[in-house]
């Protein structure tokens, strides 16, 4: 039974299609005013990293270049995440409008949607919607076009720099940072790259004003967020909720009464055990919010019938396959972690070997080139530290 103690928000999927009116209204305002509105809303990147969106647009608009790009990152590959597919299926015009306005503000006449290969069945419908949207752009006198670029089955391409490499026809291997995409992105030009959901939120902000968005959520974690709920829950699906809730509140609404742990943020996120449900909130790290975990929206629940060892080994198999293999800490580290926990489980290594593996994740965290290798530590540490006995016996 759904308890519904958490407030359900209906902004993203709200049925409204006044693209033309919003474009017209917004185009009368100055770029500076629009950027300030966005900064004032407190919107942060909804892919999980949480970079302030307004600042990203501001930096790119200030970068000097003859060509700039706006890219919508629809390479949703994190295990347990499926909200972007739903947005593109139901309200793609909101994403397009966000892209068009960003294009106008930063000075980019062309935008791309990098769609993961697993969602290829969406292209037909998306192209139809795009054709309609392009007509609206022409009607309001906005010189802007969006193209779809297909990914082809690589999780790492959700990382912004790998995505650019992939679009440039190369292997999807991350670049060194800095320079950041705001100066040096696709084809070396200043690029805004936003998650699908982030762009959909800009619709709400430009239509209703920053305040409506800002009133939702808590300090440092403003607004609502889509959550992809799966695992041992009677109500799997996509829900729009306010940021700032505790894991306990979430479990009360979505758990099956026997919830043992919640994985927040997918395989690269954190596993929260039952004893910590009350103290951990969902949102971005901030001074006032205490311990909060960021998430791209993936919330997976596990009940007591699940083995945390199987869970971790499934994550590690995932990372071993999806590591691009460019840097050693990630390529070798992921393999060693997987072999290591298997050896401990089989009794070939002593339990203390887990501490060596934990130290290895620390090394990976500080030396891997991109987020993939660095974030393996999140799930590994939170599972091994909280469920050590399950790793051994």
């Amino acid at each position: 039974m759904v308890k519904n103690t958490l407030k359900r928000i209906d902004l993203i999927f709200k049925h409204e299609d006044d693209c033309k009116e919003i474009l017209q209204k917004t185009m009368q305002r100055s770029n500076e005013e629009l950027i300030n509105e966005l900064i004032g809303s407190g919107l942060k990147g909804r892919g999980g990293a949480g970079f302030p969106t307004g600042l990203k647009w501001k930096l790119t608009s200030e970068a000097e270049s003859d060509t700039k790009y706006i890219i919508c990152n629809a390479d949703e590959g994190e295990p347990g995440t499926f909200k972007d597919r739903e947005i593109l299926t139901r309200v793609s015009h909101k994403v397009f409008t966000g892209m068009a306005l960003c294009g106008r503000i930063i000075g980019a006449p062309v935008g791309y949607i990098y769609l993961r290969g697993e969602y290829k069945y969406l292209t037909g419908q998306l192209q139809e919607e795009l054709d309609k949207f392009h007509k609206i752009c022409d009607e309001v006198g906005l010189d802007f076009r969006i193209k779809i670029f297909m990914g082809y089955g690589a999780y790492i391409c959700g990382e912004e720099n790998s995505l650019f490499e992939s679009m440039e026809g190369k292997r999807g291997e991350p670049r060194n940072k800095p320079p950041y995409p705001t100066e040096h992105g696709y084809l070396g030009k200043p690029t805004v790259i936003n998650n699908v959901e982030t762009l959909a939120h800009t619709w709400t902000i430009f239509k209703y004003g920053a305040k409506k968005f800002r009133d939702l959520g808590v300090q440092d974690s403003r607004g609502s967020k889509l959550f992809s709920v799966s695992g041992d829950t009677p109500n799997p699906g996509i829900y729009e909720l306010e940021l700032g809730m505790t894991v306990e509140e979430f479990v009360e609404d979505f758990g099956d009464g026997d919830c043992k742990a919640v994985q927040v943020g997918g395989a690269s996120g954190f596993c929260v055990p039952r004893k910590k449900f009350r103290e951990i909130a969902i949102g971005y790290q901030g001074k006032l919010t205490g311990i909060s975990l960021p998430t791209g929206g993936s919330m997976m629940l596990f009940n007591s019938s699940r083995s945390m060892y199987n869970l971790l080994s499934n994550y590690l198999e995932f990372f071993t396959e999806e590591s691009c293999g460019q840097c050693t800490p990630c390529r070798v580290g992921t393999q060693q972690l997987l072999q290591g926990i298997r050896a401990v489980k089989r009794g070939e290594k002593q339990a203390a070997y887990l501490d060596k593996l934990l130290a290895l994740t620390e090394t990976m965290k500080s030396t891997a080139k991109c987020g993939l290798g660095q974030s393996v530590a999140n799930s590994f540490q939170s599972i091994v530290e909280n469920f050590r006995e399950e790793m051994i016996y």
Partner: protein
């Protein structure tokens, strides 16, 4: 008598070999022409710049069901790249098949939620229905059975892709029904 037969056999087999070789060569040549034409068409559509390499590779994979080393060299030449560069890109992406595949490529999701909701049973049902093991292609080249990482249908697990089409909420019965349907397709 014996002698005559002995004399005739080599000639016959020689003739046979020649015919086989000729058909093979003809087939190979025809295939090479098809690939060259396809690459030409794709480059005309997307352009020669390296940023169009992935769409061109995808275009070849779409019609040929895989990208052969020969196709890679044709693409490399047409786009002014080294074949090593093209090979590097082609082999990076998990959906870019570089060995011949069946007409219908089945990719079963094996990531956490699908794993929890019984993707192993689904895989066994598929192996039974297709009479092949994971990673293999049926002798009639119609089906290839593979696993893949998260397909983004965790709330309707287990899930699988057949070419570009998604199938969710799978059960053993449903798998047999789906495969029976595809078997009837040409």
């Amino acid at each position: 008598m014996f002698c005559i037969i002995k004399y005739h056999i080599p000639i016959l087999s020689e003739i046979q070999t020649i015919t086989v070789n000729q058909t093979q060569n003809n087939y190979k040549e025809a295939h090479m022409t098809i690939i060259q034409e396809r690459v030409k068409e794709l480059i005309a559509k997307y352009g020669k710049g390296r940023e169009n390499l992935l769409p061109v590779l995808q275009g070849v994979a779409e019609t040929e069901r895989y990208v052969s080393e020969y196709s890679m060299t044709v693409i490399a030449e047409a786009m002014g790249l080294s074949s090593a560069d093209v090979y590097g890109t082609a082999t990076f992406y998990s959906f870019m098949d570089t060995t011949p595949r069946g007409k219908y490529i089945i990719r079963v999701c094996k990531t956490i939620t699908c794993f929890m909701k019984g993707k192993n049973q689904i895989l066994l049902a598929l192996e039974e229905a297709l009479k092949i093991k994971l990673g293999e292609t049926t002798p009639d080249k119609k089906f290839t059975l593979l696993e893949t990482n998260c397909l983004g249908w965790c709330h309707k697990a287990p899930a699988m892709l057949i070419n570009d089409d998604i199938h969710v909420d799978l059960t053993i019965e449903k798998v047999h029904e789906i495969i029976a349907e595809y078997k009837q397709k040409s």
